[in-house]
């Protein structure tokens, strides 16, 4: 039996430091300018699938409602098409905010473990960090295994079509010298909006 929950938010539910961290990330500095006009949600091709519209994500983020923001499916649905960002009348980097939130969710380990996008992102990340390049088939297979193995069966025809047109490759691509990239990326800063020590 589902119990009735209080929907109220107290000041103690807010994490203002979280809002500051997001503000400090590239493209996210203008979130306080938002007038909640909702253009972002109106123009977003996938806002119809989101639990919280992009407009609400901005409002919740700048107020520090970290849990609400990171637990909504919104950030994983975002296709990163930048429609919201270029149409925003206040020139807020909404897509950049979505990216920032995705990294925060993965850092915090609260991303949905079997939802396609976060699984794909992490597989992609690991593969590119290792080989320097992305191998489409390998990536698809690995992602499906971790998110939705059953779906792979549905893709068999697609695989066949690609095979027939010579566009299917199971080879793991890599840079001629991936080692230089390993070192290079190890030396990049973590840009996560936290103040450097």
């Amino acid at each position: 039996m589902s119990s009735i929950q209080r929907q109220i938010r107290f000041e103690s539910d807010r994490d203002p430091g979280f809002a500051d961290e997001i503000r400090a990330m590239p493209g996210c500095e203008l979130i306080d300018r938002c007038i909640q006009c909702a253009t972002c949600s109106g123009v977003c091709p996938v806002s119809t699938y989101m639990e919280l519209t992009p407009r609400r994500i901005i409002e919740l983020t700048r107020n520090g409602f970290k849990q609400d923001v990171l637990n909504a499916n919104t950030i994983w649905i975002c296709t990163s098409c930048y429609e919201c960002q270029v149409e925003c009348p206040k020139e807020i980097g909404i897509t950049d905010v979505m990216y920032a939130l995705k990294t925060k969710a993965i850092q915090a380990g609260v991303e949905p473990k079997h939802l396609g996008p976060p699984v794909l992102f992490k597989e992609f990340y690991n593969m590119v960090r290792k080989t320097g390049r992305m191998s489409e088939t390998q990536l698809a297979v690995r992602s499906f295994i971790k998110s939705n193995p059953m779906q792979m069966w549905g893709m068999k025809w697609l695989g066949l079509r690609l095979l027939k047109t010579g566009r299917f490759s199971v080879k793991l691509e890599h840079m001629p010298k991936p080692s230089v990239l390993h070192t290079a990326l190890d030396h990049a800063d973590r840009i996560d909006g936290r103040r450097a020590k």
Binding site: C37, A38, S41, G42, V43, C44, E91
Partner: protein, 668 residues
């Protein structure tokens, strides 16, 4: 030079220093007592004190009393900007019995306490600035303001409701008014409106009587189809050149019978009718609208066959029994002298093409608000029938607010009138079509008398109000009911989800922006623009219709978006300010002009080409430069350039500035 006796004559320099707390505005950041204590230690300073509000009557009285009590002959006040209160304190100095130019002001509020946070550093800066002023004021001289008479006439530029109201006010006060309008008729944007909010009285009914009054007023010279091309001179004495474009009609002969229009070889219109927002056609010989003032036709040289060198039987000319049509007419120039100028050049509606998102120009039934004004107007292109491009009546209309406004990509400002006119149009459209009306808004702003009540009335009339800026207008349906219509995609932000609403007509509530030629006009009249391009008032609160050029005033939307009541109020204010200037009858010229000390002038001619006001000439007999104080505006350019140091600018003398620089840089 002996520090004690520099300046005027040989008397000892006795300086009084007064520092203002400005409540906590200054004292909150600057330790004013410490500054006063410090200044007291400087040479020639006889008294140094601080006061809560120096600009108050009591504060000014303190200065007057101290001048008498301490036999002061110099006064320095450290307070706000001299642009605000220099006049006040000069007057107080004068009341104390010494020449007002023995005063100098230090700006420690706008340039000090309001822009700095560190108390110690801000106090240090205030001390430095005070020391600079003390050093310079020693070298001040007694100066007299020259008086020049003011011409008893005024130029009003722009014949919209602002210009009309200002012109009538001045004319009724007995002043001669020249009203210059670029278009063939006065009336401006207001003449295009159908009704006015929130009372819904007919725009034409309230405007046209005023227009005809302008046309017949004995004190008003109305030059329509004309432009101001040059303005020279100074407050009270402006020389203006007005270009009168040829309308190919002898104005003194035309009686406005309009026979020529009937007889034009074009039986129907051949060119877009700009008055109807290009929703209809007009002929090359035309009158913009029935109640145009002056009631004179004009021939559009771009559309007229004859004026384009084509073969035409010129039936318009033969139809005119007064032979008023004159194809040979050329532009002419009028030269007038006026005492004051009121700039009322209006605004430009935002060009909806700049927001491609809303499909203006792509979907036929996306309209701008001004187009809809014409559509709902019974004298408009459809006679007041609101029909779509295919002739049908809309069943559902979306009105999108804030088009081009509140938008960093276009105009950052709120255009102030769009909410209210959108409500008005919603009401009129509902009345004309009985369609479902959807208002898509970000915020509804109704700060005016009766405005909120009007909003409520609209709500009660069954209009939909959806809080969300439209994200997309598309013709791609996803369910059958959307087929063949425009679909508005918007987040209903109060409901929290995205909605798709099919509509037949979209109205874009376009904002107001400066006219394209605003910066050209601004230069012509030597006034400033704010960063968005509207003309800048001298002070947003205290001098809202004045400009940085004395004798040039602003009225209406050229200064910023405003509705009709505010425009009329501002036009009245501009007229009143002009009247003050004219009725006083003289202007006092600031004495900060430059002069040549003949014995030092080698006559090298360096200064001659530098003066933009042609105030410098050469006395060939003496071989020296001479500055005409009436023409000199006191910029000081020649002073800087004079290689002999033979030119001096009052109040900005080399020795004053050097003293100021050098003392500003000594660390207290």
């Amino acid at each position: 030079m002996d520090d004690k006796t520099i300046g005027n004559g040989s008397e000892e320099v006795r300086i009084g220093f007064f520092i203002c707390h400005c409540g906590s505005n200054i004292a909150g950041t600057i330790d004013v007592e410490a500054v006063a204590d410090y200044v007291r230690t400087l040479p020639n300073v006889v008294v140094s004190s601080d006061y809560k509000y120096t600009c108050s009557v009591a504060g000014q009285d303190m200065i007057v009393e101290d001048i008498l009590k301490y036999k002061l002959n110099r006064v320095v006040v450290a307070a706000c900007s001299p642009l605000l209160h220099e006049k006040t304190f000069r007057a107080a100095t004068q009341r104390g019995g010494i020449n007002p130019f023995f005063f100098h002001m230090v700006n420690i509020r706008e340039h000090g306490s309001w822009v700095h946070q560190d108390r110690a550093l801000a106090t240090q800066k205030a001390m430095d600035m005070a020391r600079g002023a003390i050093a310079r004021v020693k070298f001040h001289k007694a100066l007299e303001k020259r008086r020049e008479p003011v011409r008893q006439s005024v130029l009003v530029v722009g014949g919209g409701i602002a210009g009309i109201h200002a012109a009538l006010t001045m004319a009724n006060a007995g002043k001669k008014v020249y009203l210059v309008e670029r278009e063939p008729t006065i009336g401006g944007h207001m003449a295009m409106f159908d009704k006015t909010f929130p009372t819904l009285d007919c725009a034409a009914c309230i405007l046209t009587p005023k227009m005809s009054e302008v046309g017949s007023h004995p004190n008003i010279v109305l030059w329509s189809y004309s432009e101001v091309t040059e303005i020279k001179g100074y407050v009270g004495n402006y020389d203006v050149t007005v270009k009168r474009k040829p309308r190919y009609i002898k104005e003194d002969l035309c009686v406005g019978c309009l026979d020529c229009i009937d007889h034009c070889v074009f039986k129907t219109g051949n060119t877009d009718d700009e008055f109807n927002q290009n929703l209809s056609k007009r002929k090359p010989v035309y009158i913009p609208f029935a109640q145009a003032v002056p009631r004179l036709v004009a021939i559009d040289p771009a559309a007229c066959t004859h004026l384009n060198g084509g073969k035409c039987e010129q039936s318009c000319a033969t139809a005119c029994d007064r032979q008023a049509i004159d194809f040979e007419q050329k532009e002419t120039f009028e030269h007038i002298g006026v005492g004051a100028v009121i700039v009322a050049t209006g605004f430009k509606p935002f060009d909806a093409h700049r927001k491609p998102l809303y499909g203006y120009g792509r979907f036929p039934d996306v309209y701008t608000a001004l187009e809809v004004e014409r559509l709902v107007c019974s004298s408009g292109p459809t006679g007041g029938d609101v029909v779509l491009k295919d002739g049908s009546k809309p069943k559902s209309v979306g009105i999108i607010h804030c088009v081009g406004s509140r938008d960093h990509q276009t105009n950052r400002w709120c255009s102030r009138v769009c909410c209210m006119y959108s409500l008005k149009l919603a009401h009129l459209l509902k009345e004309h079509t009985d369609a479902e009306i959807y208002n898509f808004y970000i915020d509804i702003r109704t700060p005016g008398k009766g405005y909120e009540e009007f909003y409520e009335r609209l709500q009660e009339e069954g209009n939909h109000f959806i809080r969300g800026r439209v994200g997309d207008i598309t013709d791609v349906p996803i369910i059958p009911e959307e087929e063949g219509r425009m679909i508005v995609r918007v987040e209903d932000s109060l409901a929290g989800f995205v909605r798709r609403i099919p509509v037949d007509m979209v109205v874009l509530a376009t904002g107001l922006e400066p006219r394209e030629d605003a910066s050209e006009i601004r230069r012509r009249f030597n006034i400033s623009c704010s960063s968005e391009g509207f003309f800048l008032e001298r002070h947003p609160k205290l001098a809202p219709v004045s400009t940085t050029t004395d004798g040039v005033f602003l009225a209406g939307c050229c200064q910023g978006p405003k509705d009709i009541p505010d425009t009329v109020a501002q036009a009245g204010a501009a007229a009143a300010e002009s009247l003050v200037l004219l009725d006083v009858g003289y202007v006092e010229m600031e004495p900060m002009t430059a002069f040549v000390t003949e014995k030092y002038c080698s006559g090298c001619k360096t200064c001659l080409p530098l003066c933009p006001f042609s105030a410098i000439s050469r006395d060939e007999e003496k071989g020296v430069a001479v500055i005409n104080p009436v023409l000199c505006k006191g910029c000081g350019t020649c002073v800087a350039a004079c290689p002999s140091g033979a030119i001096t600018q009052n109040l900005f003398e080399d020795r004053q500035i050097f003293a100021e620089i050098e003392e500003l840089l000594v660390h207290a």
